[in-house]
Symmetry: C2
């Protein structure tokens, strides 16, 4: 057993696979379809190229995303969810549905 093994607890394993808010937001974008690297950067203002590269490589390593290079000039590279990655649609929908039920205290003050 090494530190690089995934946790046995499902929730802890999820938090290792989708670590930090950017990982989940990248998946949210990819659920709309394949994206190029720069399309993801534009869709996620504030993400650093380093973080985006790191998360995409991690997703590839775990079989969540595929990286396809199209032989054209200039070469085109697209990132796309695998069927395993598509399985995150239900998780993100559950997150979003729950979160939209939470009242916004700041909005209450504003009314």
């Amino acid at each position: 057993m090494t530190d690089s093994r995934l946790p046995e607890c499902g929730v802890a394993r999820f938090l290792t696979l989708l670590n930090g808010p950017w990982a989940t937001l990248i998946v949210r974008e990819l659920l709309h379809g394949p994206h190029r690297f720069n399309q993801l950067r534009e869709a996620l203002p504030g993400i650093s190229p380093h973080t985006l590269t790191s998360r995409l490589r991690q997703f590839e390593r775990h079989g969540i995303v595929t990286r396809t290079t199209y032989a054209q000039i200039p070469p085109r590279v697209e990132y796309e969810l695998t069927p395993l990655g598509e399985g995150l649609r239900d998780v993100l929908e559950a997150m979003g549905t729950w979160a939209m039920d939470v009242p916004d205290p700041a909005a209450d003050v504003a009314v």
Copy 2:
């Protein structure tokens, strides 16, 4: 509109309400029932008292957790999920179910 308002996007809103891995792991523990502060600390090795206090206050503020003080000597304080917080059970189950379908690359190497 101020910075303290919750995001309009459900997924981003979720990531604001449950920010960082500890928030989700605290909820995982509270799904087993009410806990005292020190019970949560013991269940979550590595969490700092500052982080635990901060997350619990944030959960109280958003109506996810209640804090109940029992008038006894010494006073007993318990944290418990509200019905809104209980709604996270489905989200965490979805996370865990998905994550357990992801093969562990390190485990493959070990076999």
